[in-house]
Each structure stands twice: as C-alpha cells, then as structure tokens.
C-alpha cells in the first residue's frame, strides 16, 4: 500500500510539473524562487501548448 501511495504521489507530482521543476533546479544549480518558477513554467508551457492535445 505504501508503494502504491508513493507511486500515486510521484505520478501526481509528474503531472503537476513539480518533479520537472525540481529537476530543473538541480540541473541548473539554482534555488527555488517565484521568479525561477515563472521562468521554468513559461518555458515548459510554451513547449507544451505548441503540441496538439488528443481528442
């Protein structure tokens, strides 16, 4: 059950881009801040919303 819970949380964090943001901070050696999140999410959303969504 604990493994399932961990998996569900990890999936939700991936879908919510929270894991991607953590990876972004680690990859660039930066600390979390409002400005950093805005920079990250703008770049990510720009790429995401250039792709068609499935019907």
């Amino acid at each position: 059950m604990r493994r399932l819970g961990r998996f569900i949380l990890a999936l939700l964090r991936e879908l919510a881009d929270e894991s991607a943001y953590e990876r972004h901070l680690a990859a660039h050696g930066r600390a979390h801040s409002g400005a950093e999140w805005r920079r990250f999410s703008e770049e990510r959303q720009r790429a995401r919303y250039a792709m068609p969504r499935c019907c």
Binding site: R13, E18, Q45, C54
Partner: protein, 685 residues
C-alpha cells in the same frame, strides 16, 4: 514454472474467447456489464502478453543496452529518463480525450455488440500496435514528430501534406467537440453555471501559482477541485433561483458564441493565466473520474439495457445515418485506433523513456487503457433504457418536435418510453428537459450518474452526479478547445511566417490576434453550422471528424509501414499494412458515402440537392437559412474530398517509396540516431 505460466495464459486467452463469445452470442435477456469488462480485460492481457511481446522482441528489437534520447540528450526538462509507470500515467493522461467517451456512446445506436467488438479488436491489433511502433520510431529518432518522420522516411510531399492534414483535422475536431459542449449545456442553467465558474476558478489558480504560492501545483489543483465541486453544489441553487436561472439559461447559438469568444481569448491570453491552470485541473479531474467510473462499474455491475443489435444496423439511425460498415468504425474513433495518438507518441513521451523496453507498456499498454475507457463509456450508455437513450440523442427533425411526438416515434421503434419517464428523469437530474440533447455527452452523463447513484445515495444524488459528469466532460473538452486553438494558431503562424516574417513571430501581438481570429473563425464556422443543422449537427460533423481522425491514423500507419519495410523488408509488413488496409477501406468508403450517397441523411450532395429542390418549389420556410444549409452541405462535401485527396497523396507517395525499397532501387536505410551504449543505472529511475 513454465508449465504453470503456460496454463495461466491459456486460461486467460480461453476466458477472453469465452467472454467475447458470450457477449456475441447472447440474445434475449439483458446481459451484465461484467461480461464486457472481462472480455476486454482478458483480451487486452492476452494481446499485451503475446502480440506486444512479439512486436517488442522480433519486430522492433527493443534493446535496453541502447541509450535512449532521454539519456543521451538529458537536459533536465524535455529529455529526462523517467520511471516507466509514471511515464505510462503521463502518456495515458495525454492521449485520453473525450473521443473514446463520446464515440462509443454514439455508436451504441447500433446496439452494444458492434462497437464493443471493434473497440477490443481494433485496439489490440491496430491502435495499440500503431501507437507502439510510432513511439518506438520517434524514440529511435531523438523524439522527432510525425511530420518530421514522414518527411525523412517518405519524402517532402508526404511531410508537407501531413502538416496540412493535421491542421484541417484539428479544425473539424475543435468544431465537433465544441458542439458536444453546446448540446450538453443548452437550456441547462445548472450546467452552464458550473462550466462558467471554472473560468474564474482557473484564473484564480493562475494567479495563485504565479504570485502567491509559486510551484505549488498540487496544492493549487486541490483547491481548484474543491472550488469546482462547490460550483456544482451552487449550480443547483442557481438553477432554482428565479433571478439567476434566466441568466444561465442559454440557447445553443448563445452558447456557441460564448465558446467561440472563450476560444479566442484563451488563444491570445498568456498561457499561465488560463490555459495552464485549466490544463492541470482537467488532467486531475479526468484521471479521477475515469478511475471512479471503473470502480463504479465493478462495484455496481449494472445490466445492459440496450440490445446487442438495434434495428438501426440498416443505416436508418436517428443519431447518425449510415450502416455499421463503415460508420460504426469511424464513430468509435479514438477508442480503438486514433491518429492523434501518433502525434502524442511522437511528442513529449519518447523524450522521457529511460529504457527502450519501456516503450512496450507505455506505447502499447496506454492504448489498451484508453480502449478500456471506451468500453466503460459503452457500458455507461447501454445501462440507460433504450427509449431514454434515443429520446436524449435524437434530433427533433427525426423524432418529432414535441415530447409526445418524440416518445410516440421512439416507442414505435420498439423502445418504449413515456413523456412522464422523461419528465421525471429531467426533474431528478435538475434539467428542464432531456429531449434533443444530441452529441453523446448528456446520455453519457446520465449513464455515469446512474452508476454512481447506484453506488450510494440513489435518486437523491443523481442530479449532483449528472452535473458532475457534465462538468467533467465539458471541462476537458474546453481544455482541448483552448489548447487546440493555440496550437492551430502556432501552425498557421509557422506557415504564414514563410510569406511575411512578422506573421511568424509568436510575440508580435497583431500577428497573434489575426491568426487566432482565423483559427477561431474556421472552427467557429463549423460549430455554427452544426448548431443550425436541423439534424442536430452531430449527424454531419461527427462522421466528418471520425473520418478525419482515422485518416490521420492512416498517415501514421504509412510512416510506420515505411519504417518496418526499411528495417525488415516485406517480412513484417502485415503488422501495419493490415490495419492500414482496413482503415483505408473504412475511411474511403465513409468519405465516399458522405459525399455521394443518394440518401440525403447520409450524402452531403444529396442533402444539398433536396434542400435546393424544396427552395425551388417554394416549400422552404426560411429561404435564406436554406441557402446557408445548401452551402454548408456542399462545403462539407468539399472538405471530405480534400481529406481524401490529402491522404491519397500520402498513400501514393508512400507506395512509391515501398515499391522502390522492395525493388532495391531506393535507399532503404533507416534514419535512426546512432547507437550509444546506455550507462543509466537502475537506481537513477
């Protein structure tokens, strides 16, 4: 151990055959939905265990020692090795749209059997194989898109034609999805209020994430979900309020205009303000509701009320006209095979696969899950009394404009229903009427509400569940609408940028506004056409969309066939060629009938001729409106013809390449990224 495994899989395959046989041969008494669930689950398990393993090992030769683009090009953002189950969930969330929910509901007019068989067989042998091969191909090419692969593997003509086709198909898809929402919300103050409330909720979430609690997406989405639930509760009070109800009681045309304005604003506004928070909300609600529906069906195990076959297999269906072949297959669309999946499978996902072996559960497995969603939608539609199902889904021109006329017509088909039944049902779910709610969304919501209410609460809560289901459907259809409009704008800007550079700049506001307006006007035109259509719009637009979607799948299969041919010669050609041949037969027949059938309910040209004759005879009530209907029918015929011409171009171009490869006169080298040994450790995932 090997013997036990063999016995186990023999039992699963036997159970699949038994359940499929049971639902195919069962006649007379009602069948329990659990037979459909078991038939699907056992068929998927067998297909996954044997067919996908064969594809992975023999055909695609997946190699876990070979570094994937996620490892080689790792950048912490787009390219990132990701746990396979998380990526499966991510990919499934991306491919699961309203198509597999609405398509089976509409196809249920033939009865539960034709649609169910096609959903299961089509997914195992066609859709899942297509997704898997395209995902594999994109992964071996550093995450290239379908258009790029078509250009590199087939040629420039195929690549350019694929891009144009995608843009046109998106316009039709957006129009038909918007029409589904319009038909679900017209005359429904409860539904309209709930959906309207999601816009300020999304704006609040956008501000919350950007300024108040940056990066707290899960926390923000949880608040958003609670606010949406509160909006559903508040919707009942709004619908009962003498002052507020008229404000939210909108006709089809008013709703269509509101959705067009929304689409334009969403395309032009910054992504963080509306699209992104709405996207997060929609994803979580979608996954949650699909899970709830699965659990609900297993818990309640409802009986199917619709028969295996209805009388409408003869092509005289009230929801859409046409026989099982080809119209059942194009109506189901994404539930068994979808061209749009190829776009997703050649987008984000291949850039995140850690090991090549993961492509099997992600590519093949996700499509099986999507197909299971379609089975659940079929069950939800079929648990309704057939009379209720047809009363909700039939346009007034087919069954009669008054409730008394509609129930008399539907009862005469052998599906008894009374005005009292429909009035009581409408009152239970908090609607003024449930007649003439074409589009599939309301009947799906009724079926879901029926299942959820039987899980606990009964009639007292059916209104809440109905509007919960409507909110869920409308929320993620609108998410597709706003995203699709934006993507269409980018594609158009990309094209126009070649003619005049400023138009290609996504930061130049006049260009953004102009191209957004063009895209919105394009799908908005077809939406208005659907709203004005006396047959309800779904009769003409859904087959057009279904044909287009399956034609896109044909393009993906052309690319996949070319790649398999280059890898193995003719040996494994049947894997993609068999579904391709089937799709070509289905879509070309459907498109031909939609253009040239002499039956006005099917053929666009026959429909235009009939209207013209009535105009000439002076029998048309509104000559100007009839002129518009004639123009629209001819426009639909032309569009159908354009789809056919575009796909024929790609097909012929592909065949030219295939013949060249088989004769040895053409370079058969695949355009894969170089082999690099993987150094990724298991603990890194």
């Amino acid at each position: 151990m090997k013997l036990l495994t063999g016995l186990f899989w023999s039992a699963v395959a036997g159970a699949a055959a038994l359940c499929l046989g049971a639902i195919a041969l069962h006649r007379g008494e009602h069948i329990n939905s659990i037979w459909l669930v078991l038939a699907a689950a056992c068929s998927y398990a067998t297909g996954y265990r044997f067919y996908s393993k064969f594809l992975a090992a023999r055909v695609l030769a997946l190699d876990d020692r070979r570094a994937t683009p996620a490892e080689r090009l790792r950048d912490g953002q787009d390219f990132e090795p990701t746990n396979k189950w998380i990526l499966l969930g991510h990919h499934f969330a991306a491919i699961a749209g309203p198509g597999p929910l609405v398509g089976p509901v509409l196809a249920a007019q033939f009865g539960y059997l034709p649609g169910t068989l096609w959903i299961i067989i089509g997914a195992v042998l066609g859709g899942a194989a297509q997704d898997f091969v395209i995902l594999f191909a994109s992964m071996r090419r550093d995450g290239k898109s379908l258009g790029q692969m078509a250009r590199e593997e087939i040629g420039k003509v195929a690549g350019f034609t694929a891009l144009i086709t995608v843009l046109l198909i998106m316009i039709i898809m957006l129009a038909v999805m918007a029409l589904v929402v319009v038909n679900a919300l017209k005359g429904s103050p409860w539904g309209a209020f709930t959906i309207a409330a999601t816009i300020p909720i999304a704006l609040f979430m956008g501000l919350y994430l950007r300024y108040w609690r940056p990066a707290k997406v899960l926390e923000c989405s949880a608040i958003g979900c609670l606010l949406v639930m509160a909006a559903i509760f508040a919707g009942r009070s709004v619908a009962q309020s003498a002052a507020l109800a008229p404000l939210f009681t909108l006709g089809a045309m008013a709703l269509a205009i509101a959705i067009i304005v929304y689409g334009f604003l969403a395309s032009a506004l910054p992504v963080w303000l509306l699209l992104a928070p709405r996207g997060y909300l929609s994803t979580f609600v979608k996954l949650g509701v699909i899970l709830m529906l699965g659990v609900g069906i297993l818990f309640v195990r409802p009986q199917l009320q619709l028969p295996a076959f209805t009388r409408f297999v003869d092509g005289t269906g009230p929801i859409f006209a046409g026989k099982i072949f080809p119209f059942c297959f194009i109506t189901i669309a994404c539930g068994s095979i979808s061209g749009f999946h190829a776009l997703i499978a050649s987008g984000t996902t291949p850039k995140m696969i850690a090991k090549e072996g993961h492509a099997r559960p992600i590519g093949y497995g996700s499509m099986l899950l999507e197909s299971f969603v379609a089975i659940m939608a079929m069950i939800a539609a079929c648990v309704l009394q057939p009379g209720v199902y047809f009363a909700v889904n039939s346009p007034p021109v087919t069954v009669g404009a008054t409730p008394a006329a509609a129930v008399a017509t539907i009862s005469s088909w052998g599906f008894p229903v009374t005005v009292t039944d429909m009035t009581n049902l409408a009152r239970d779910v908090g609607e003024q009427t449930l007649f003439n709610r074409t589009g599939g969304a309301p009947s799906l919501a009724l079926g879901m509400a029926h299942i959820f209410a039987r899980g606990g609460g009964g009639r007292a809560v059916i209104g809440f569940w109905y509007h919960f289901a409507i909110m869920f459907e409308a929320l993620f259809i609108l998410t597709i609408l706003d995203t699709g409009t934006r993507v269409g704008r980018f594609m158009l800007q990309d094209f126009l940028g070649h003619a005049w550079k400023p138009l290609g700049r996504t930061s130049w506001m006049p260009g953004v506004v102009a191209t957004s307006a063009v895209i919105v006007a394009a799908w908005g035109y077809f939406l208005i056409q659907g709203v004005r259509d006396p047959l309800g719009g779904i009769n003409s637009l859904w087959p057009l969309y279904g044909t287009a979607n399956q034609l896109l799948a044909a393009i993906a299969l052309c690319v996949a066939t070319t790649i398999l041919l280059k890898m193995h010669g003719a040996k494994y050609l049947w894997i993609t060629c068999a579904p391709l041949a089937w799709l070509v037969a289905v879509t070309f027949t459907a498109a031909w009938q939609k253009i040239f059938s002499p039956v006005p309910a099917i053929g666009f040209l026959a429909q235009a001729d009939r209207l013209e004759a009535s105009l000439r005879a002076g029998a048309a009530a509104d000559p100007a409106a009839t002129q518009t209907l004639i123009f629209n029918a001819r426009l639909d015929a032309v569009l159908c013809g354009v789809f056919l011409a575009l796909v024929t171009t790609i097909l012929l171009d592909s065949m030219r390449v295939w013949v060249g490869i088989l004769r040895g006169t053409r370079d058969a080298r695949v355009c894969e990224a170089p082999y690099v040994l993987s150094e990724l450790r298991a603990e890194e995932l």
